[in-house]
Symmetry: C2
Subunit: 73 residues, 2 copies
């Protein structure tokens, strides 16, 4: 598992948008059909998620996939 930096950046983006929308990690996880523990792992950059996982999150957040990936790197 590499690219911690990228994963962390995207994780931070998820947190950022999630907090703006005022949802809890718990609720976002539920909207994605997984557990809050897994969402925590993702947001912390501790997992090299697949594109479908990221897509689920983007859908749950109501943003485009691009918005999560666009970390200005």
């Amino acid at each position: 598992m590499k690219n911690f930096r990228l994963q962390r950046k995207i994780g931070e983006k998820i947190i950022q948008i999630r907090e703006i929308k005022g949802i809890t990690q718990q609720d976002l996880a539920a909207a994605c059909n997984f557990e809050k523990s897994n969402m925590s792992r993702i947001e912390a950059g501790r997992t090299n998620f697949t594109i479908s996982t990221l897509f689920k999150i983007s859908q749950a957040l109501g943003v485009r996939l691009t918005d999560l990936v666009d970390t200005a790197d």
Copy 2:
């Protein structure tokens, strides 16, 4: 494995950029440090790749991650 459509779309985007740059699947795969067979799988949308795999490809293609993900969906 779901989101065949998304994976396929991104795969098509990879093909598109790869062909514009005039590189073979073989060479792109080599630049990413994997085999052409795996690149074929990815381009065909037959794998739910991780973000780090997509990132490697974007780097090898000399484009931003966003450019691959931006499928106007």
